[in-house]
Amino acid sequence: MSDFLFARSQMAMSLAFHIVFAALGIGMPLLMVLAEGAYLRTRNPVYLELSKRWAKGTAILFAVGAVSGTVLSFELGLLWPRFMAEAGAIIGMPFSLEGFAFFTEAIFIGVYLYGRTRLSPLLHWLAGVVVAASGVLSGIFVVAANAWMNAPAGFTFAGGRFTGIDPVAAMLNPATLHEVLHMTLAAFVATGFAVAGVHAFYLLRTPASPFHRCALGLALGLAGVCIPLQVASGDLSARVVGRFQPAKLAAMEALYRTQENAPLILGGIPDDGARMTRLGLTIPRGLSLLLGDSPGTRVTGLEAFPRANWPDVRIVHWSFDLMVACGFAMLAVAGWSVWLWLRRRRLAEHRRFLRALVAAGPLGFLAIEAGWVVTEVGRQPWIIYGVMRTREAVTPVHGIAVPFAVFTGLYAFLGVAVFSLLRGQFRETAGTVSTTPPA
């Protein structure tokens, strides 16, 4: 593999690792605050215990998210110095604002985690609210910077030079709104389903545990409210991508030919050579209907672009389908929960439903990873869409295989450590709080 591919792999690996902790860093504080808020309102001690346990998990996840985020902020320059030399002045703005939002989050997470005995209950809860809000805000700013790479704005590019720089226009580029919306909701959905999955797992063992019941209620509530919104925001995303990044959209949908009455192709094997997708499930006119609300909508296919500007169609199309499939599977589970709730009001005793929740636990994160593959691989060969190629941005440093191997090993080690520590936390939870001993 070339240094260029190792650089891309290192960036992809670092992002794939960090995004899990970043999403949990957005979602967990909200759950923790909801639990403590429920305690303040109902005075039910189970909610207090729940918020404490969730806060412990948040502490671990936040710390790993913070250090892996630090790595990324340096990797922008370590791996893509030519990109940063130009882009720094244009998109430094959202990064600076993100810095402050993250700063606020780090300050108040210290206050929240260690200040329980030093603050009044209300102030303590408010500190948690600040953590949750600044977590969302810092995510918004980082995603705005990424959106600029997809829909660059706020500069004039001529003769290899960037002039007329307008950082505000860059931050408010056409992709910001839909990316920010989609990612923020994704963080809530993924956290909600993952946490609900964990507590469903323990409820299968100790069905009477009030602790796990309360936990399941809150986590499933968050996930259930956000998943329909997320599907709607996905629809918005596809429309905007179609307008500003038609090559990415064509790859997502594995559409080679520009056409009206464009079909929606699910799965299948895209064949760049033959410029067609084999063995897919085709819904006639589906894509035109989805994008333009009428079968006559003309959809640009990959053939409209020089072959050198195509992303890897298979990776993008399959990742996109995976993301969408995960989304609809979660929507189905959420729908089932609503139906069960309306009919029986007893979710925690329905073992088949609990098993489905356990199975749905990882889907949110699977969808996030697949979605970022669509965003990033789908933009290739560009690092700034239509302006700078990823290859032009890469560092001249040789031997990138070494840092790639080092950081991959490091993150694998961290992943295992975090997993076993969190499992320890939940074991402890199951043993000390539930009314019946664990099986």
């Binding site: 630090t70 370590l78 940063m84 430094g92 703005m93 440093v397 490091l410 402890e428």
Partner: protein, 334 residues
């Protein structure tokens, strides 16, 4: 006007990072070196002192990076290319330090099972400041050359020199000294522990003087521009003030006037960094990359200044609140 202002905010963030985040690394070193009958109590005191604040302290480094690439994108790009190796190594240290610390405090097992997290935390804390000093030192050597925004001297220039290495050792010494001084206040209620950290502070504070001498001597040939900078008119004044702070810190420790010692130690570190950057000014990466020739367009700098001001309005009261809450009752850190 705006570019120097951005450079000053960069320097201020770096100084605060050294005073807070740096001291947290120093705390890790003392965790590694904890010894005697009170070794466990020392470790506990260190962990209690840094646990609520280290994440916030760490963000100063992120602020340094973000301001660097927003205000001086060309400089950022050159530094990240020329010093790719030591910076990557520093990141490994940062990741290991932070995660080992949090893993240790959440490991449900009793102490023997946590020991490997302790070692990792201490080892990474001791190692990271050295490499940070090496990186800053390398930027001043003048061995890293840049033409047309591209580094022409490869990835080994500068940071393997005796000067850069002596800067690394000096940085570790400074952070260890700061941490020991702060810990004398954090252990106010426990005279035995306080005596332990007072002794450590006195030793490390005294060791700083010969270390600083070595940095100065190696600078003559290792960082000639910086060395020359230290012969300007303000240099003797700054040196005198720094020595006064250093002596004040040691004197305060000797007389058990720990609040005074903390103030003087923090002043000493701040003056060293300020003097360093004054001697190097206007170079970011000596000699080719300067504040002027690598700065972002004016519009970016103006917006950054606005963002820093607005961010500061939120940040400073929050930080005061954080430190009041956990370091109050005479246990405040600067």
């Amino acid at each position: 006007m705006l570019a120097p202002a951005a450079a000053i905010s960069l320097l201020l963030s770096l100084i605060v990072y050294a005073l807070t985040g740096g001291a947290d690394f120093g705390g890790g070193l003392w965790d590694l070196l904890a010894s005697g009958r009170r070794a466990q109590a020392q470790r506990k005191a260190i962990a209690a002192a840094i646990a609520p604040i280290w994440e916030a302290n760490h963000v100063w480094l992120i602020l340094v990076v973000v301001v660097l690439f927003t205000a001086f994108p060309g400089g950022f790009s050159a530094v990240m290319t020329a010093l790719n190796i030591p910076i990557s190594v520093m990141l490994v240290g940062i990741v290991l330090r932070g995660s080992a610390f949090i893993f240790r405090s959440h490991d449900p097992r009793p102490e023997p099972g946590r020991r490997h997290w302790s070692r990792l935390f201490g080892g990474a804390s001791a190692f990271t400041p050295v490499i940070q000093g090496v990186i800053l030192g390398a930027m001043a050597t003048g061995r890293i050359r840049v033409a047309d925004g591209r580094v022409t001297t490869g990835v080994f220039a500068g940071w393997l020199t005796p000067f850069a290495l002596s800067c690394g050792v000096f940085a570790l010494g400074l952070f260890a000294f700061l941490a020991a001084v702060y810990l004398t206040l954090d252990t106010r209620g426990e005279p035995d522990l306080q005596a332990d950290f007072r002794r450590r502070a006195l030793w490390s504070g005294s060791a700083l003087w010969p270390m600083a001498g070595i940095v100065y001597l190696t600078a003559r040939s290792g960082a000639p521009v910086l060395f020359h900078g230290l012969t300007r008119w303000w240099a003797p004044l700054l040196l005198a003030a720094t020595c006064l702070c250093g002596a004040g810190a040691l004197g305060g420790l000797w007389l058990r006037r720990f609040s005074l010692a903390r103030m003087a130690a923090a002043g000493q570190v701040a003056l060293i960094l300020a003097g360093w950057s004054l001697a190097q000014y206007p170079c970011l990466l000596t000699p080719d990359v300067t504040v002027a020739n690598s700065s972002a367009p004016e519009v970016t700098l103006r917006l950054l200044a606005l963002a820093l001001a607005a961010g500061g309005l939120v940040l400073l009261p929050s930080l005061v609140f954080l430190f009041r809450l956990f370091k109050g009752d005479g246990r405040r850190r600067p």
